[in-house]
């Protein structure tokens, strides 16, 4: 996601803060929207929605300040947004979440470690595959046997 250089880039001299602030304002707006059904305060008695709206409102305000500061100050650029690493890490976590109940700890850990390994360019597969196997055995021993966490170990048949 490279920002266009030119007039716009000149105007926003601190893109980190500018876009950061904008996202916070958007986040506050979503939070505010999520409280729409909650009762507010009656007189001086707080309702369920009072505190969330208060915090979201303050966040929108401070987010706006950050955004404005992003326009009037100079700061570093956001930098590159490499997609591969973060997304594969995220994917590996999703894989674990999605599979652990069905296939059990051992298989889920194995697959998760492999997907995560794919996130790094330094990964050597000849090393990563046995490592994944070792880790899944180790995790099963540690979490399931030694600590006794109630995790399914093997696929459900």
């Amino acid at each position: 996601m490279t920002r266009p250089r030119g007039l716009r880039a000149l105007a926003i001299r601190n893109p980190q803060d500018f876009y950061g602030g904008l996202v916070l304002v958007a986040f506050a707006a979503i939070a505010f929207w999520a409280t729409r059904d909650l009762p507010g305060s009656r007189g001086l008695t707080f309702g369920a929605g009072t505190a969330p709206r208060l915090f979201a409102g303050l966040l929108a305000f401070v987010g706006a300040i950050v955004t404005i500061l992003g326009v009037v100050t100079t700061g570093p650029s956001v930098g590159r947004y490499p997609i591969r690493g973060p997304l594969l890490i995220f994917a590996s976590v999703l894989v674990f979440a999605g599979t652990v109940k069905a296939v059990g700890l051992v298989v889920a850990t194995f697959v998760t470690v492999l997907v995560a390994s794919a996130a790094s360019r330094e990964t050597r597969w000849r090393e990563a595959i046995p490592w994944a196997a070792a880790l899944s055995v180790f995790c099963a021993l540690l979490f399931s046997y030694a600590l006794g966490l109630p995790l399914p170990l093997w696929p459900k048949l």
Partner: protein, 498 residues
């Protein structure tokens, strides 16, 4: 002297073979679960509580207490090694601790954390033994308005200790507060901001967010810039702190211990605020405040001493009033109830052997932890010699399993992943996650105390200014913010007008 007689009674109880064994078992279990991301003392004690059914009451409490402060030691290990705070009170430790690890000084950081914790534990145990009764009045002096003001002060600490711009730090605190509102309304029980998801009915757990924005985000960042990783085998220098390190940390340990011991007495958030306060104080007294956060040893020594001291003194309201300072203490009350002991002011009179035995065992436990942890430093540091391409998938696997085990919930694991992406975004935009976690932890209690303060004062908001302790805390907040912000605003203006 009463104190000596009481301590003698305590040690005579704590030094029996059974109780020593239980204490050792407790601190070992505590260290282990503290080191493993996701597993915390609350879940572990809840799991082990039924086991204590068959133990004598004193032994049961000694073991559970050992798990609690053992986990405090273990929790700092992950903060330093992999940037994942196991507990809210070790969030601050990541700031300098992980930087030290990146510079190859993980050994010094871990050792100073253990030494500081031991010293703090000793100071706090003595305080508990000598001053339990007067300390209790401190806890009783804090009502809803005072707690609210204390939490405002705590959030101010979080803003002040951040390195970047003040509005951005305030914004991250607010993000934490907004996230903390997800769950159920504490008065009416209405689900709120949960987008209709039943998984969100109990709110977003600390572990989920801490693992995501600290642990996963750090990995994502490391992958993009391998050369900045720094944790390279060749660079690891000395396992133990140097004499200069010790000299530098000694005052920080002293200050941290005191802050922690005092704030730990306050039920609700005391220990967390203590670690933030201790770090902020170091930043204020430091001759080079700009270096805080780049891997200076005081930045580890102070909060680690504070959180361990607080862990010890949080037993004061439990022992003297039967009031739990935090979730772990609430489970301890459960343990006492199961044993047929009704916690309350009478426990100290009716069962002095239990109370003093527990207090004495805390010091013994801290000594055991020091002895266990110093040799372990070498083991932990050698983990960092594992090439990063192998280390990071292992961290992810551990976090996934740990995160899943908190509630046996795949949803939590998924959420952790999402917070990983969010944390990566925060780093990219130079937002610091530590203030956000404090907002997250303090949010619900802040709301509850604010609401209750308004009811108690019959809707009069001046209650925060008319109650002296509350007014003092708010004045301190204002002072702190002004002192901290003015120089930065001046700097900012220079930036604007270059």
């Amino acid at each position: 002297m009463d104190l000596l007689a009481n301590l003698a009674l305590g040690f005579s109880v704590a030094v029996t073979a059974t109780n020593l064994g239980l204490c050792l078992a407790g601190v070992l279990i505590g260290t282990l679960i503290g080191v493993l991301p996701g597993l915390g003392p609350v879940a572990t004690i809840a799991m082990l509580l039924p086991l204590t059914f068959g133990l004598p009451p004193t032994g049961a409490l000694i073991m559970l207490a050992g798990i609690y402060y053992g986990a405090q030691y273990g929790g700092s290990t992950t903060s330093i090694l992999v940037n994942i705070p196991g507990e809210a009170s070790s969030v601050v430790t990541t700031l300098d601790g992980f930087q030290m690890a990146r510079q190859g000084r993980a050994g010094a950081a871990l050792a100073i954390a253990a030494i500081g914790s031991f010293f703090a534990g000793t100071v706090a145990t003595l305080l508990v033994a000598a001053l339990s009764a007067p300390l209790t009045t401190v806890a009783l002096a804090f009502g809803a308005p005072e707690y609210f003001s204390l939490m405002v002060l705590g959030l101010a600490f979080a803003v002040v200790l951040s390195r970047g711009s003040v509005p951005k730090a305030v914004a991250t605190v607010l993000v934490g507060l907004v996230l903390s509102m997800v769950g159920s309304d504490l008065v009416s029980g209405v689900p709120r901001m949960g987008f209709g998801l039943p998984e969100l009915a109990d709110g977003i757990g600390f572990v989920v967010i801490a693992m995501g924005v600290f642990g996963f985000a750090e990995i994502m960042r490391n992958l993009e810039a391998p050369e900045q990783r720094g944790v390279v085998a060749g660079k690891i220098t000395g396992l133990m702190p140097t004499l200069a390190d010790l000299r530098q940390s000694a005052p920080a340990i002293g200050r941290g211990s005191l802050i922690g011991a005092v704030l730990g007495i306050l039920p609700g958030g005391g220990a967390v605020i203590a670690s933030f306060a201790a770090y902020t104080l170091e930043k204020r007294v430091s001759r080079h405040p700009e270096r805080m956060g780049t891997g200076v040893i005081e930045g580890v020594a102070a909060p680690e001493s504070a959180n361990n001291a607080a862990a010890q003194t949080s037993f004061v309201p439990l022992l003297t009033l039967g009031i739990p300072a935090n979730a772990v203490m609430a489970l301890m009350i459960g343990a006492m109830t199961i044993q047929g002991i009704i916690p309350g002011p009478q426990v100290m009179v009716r069962q002095p052997d239990l109370v003093w035995g527990l207090i004495a065992s805390m010091w013994i436990g801290n000594l055991m932890l020091l002895v266990i942890n110093l040799p372990l430093v070498g083991v932990w540091v050698s983990l960092l010699r594992v090439p990063y391409r192998l280390l990071f998938p292992a961290i992810i696997a551990f976090c996934c399993i740990g995160g899943y085990s908190v509630n046996n919930s795949s949803f939590d694991v998924m959420l952790t992943g999402l917070f990983g992406l969010a944390g990566y975004w925060l780093v990219k935009h130079d937002f610091e996650p530590a203030p956000m976690l404090l907002g997250l932890v303090l949010g619900p209690a802040m709301e509850e105390n604010l609401r209750r303060a308004m009811v108690i004062s019959n809707g009069d908001p001046t209650v925060f200014a008319t109650r002296p302790i509350s007014a003092g805390l708010l004045a301190l907040t204002a002072l702190l913010l002004v002192v901290a912000i003015l120089p930065r605003i001046r700097r900012r203006r220079e930036e604007v007008f270059v």
